[in-house]
Subunit: 101 residues, 2 copies
């Protein structure tokens, strides 16, 4: 399964981040062509407490080719550009060609 993992750094204003993410960014990202599933979580650290990332999103595609097409599409560029609007603290984006262990 091909996946995009987006690891958002801790925001200065979590409330504003949450509102924009749910109301504006998710609808934009859901338009990605070929998107098979889109989940997100606010991760915890194993010992409890706040980790380095505030929110982790996972977007899955049928194949790496489909993932690349999505990223290069107009919708993909719009979703990437939108991140700058609500996450000035930045995010780590990982492109994963995940295989069973």
């Amino acid at each position: 399964m091909a996946k995009i993992l987006v690891l958002y750094n801790q925001p200065a204003d979590a409330g504003a981040f949450d509102r924009y993410y749910v109301r504006s960014h998710v609808p934009i990202a859901k338009k990605l062509p070929g998107l098979k599933s889109f989940t997100y979580a606010k991760p915890a650290s194993p010992g409890g407490g706040t980790g380095p990332y505030y929110l982790v999103a996972e977007l899955a595609f049928e194949s790496m080719a489909a993932l690349q097409r999505a990223m290069e599409s107009d919708e993909g560029r719009a979703a990437a550009a939108d991140v700058g609007k609500f996450a000035p603290e930045g995010a780590v984006v990982l492109i994963c060609d995940a295989r069973p262990a």
Copy 2:
């Protein structure tokens, strides 16, 4: 879906990391009780090139309760302790109660 994401920092010796990971760590981690799926990838950055993490593992469980039981089991403690043997550069572990966007 409840998931453990393990983000391994870039190793000093990638060959040694790979050998230990596949031959020794994966079999230990696969013993986790309640493990529903276990995938891993060597992630790329969107613009190409090496990102901050060398390998990303994703371990999925039926529920957060099942995930917690797995982490607190003898097998979970063994898997966590094993990470120190092949990843002295460290890893970020994220416990995710992932929901559909």
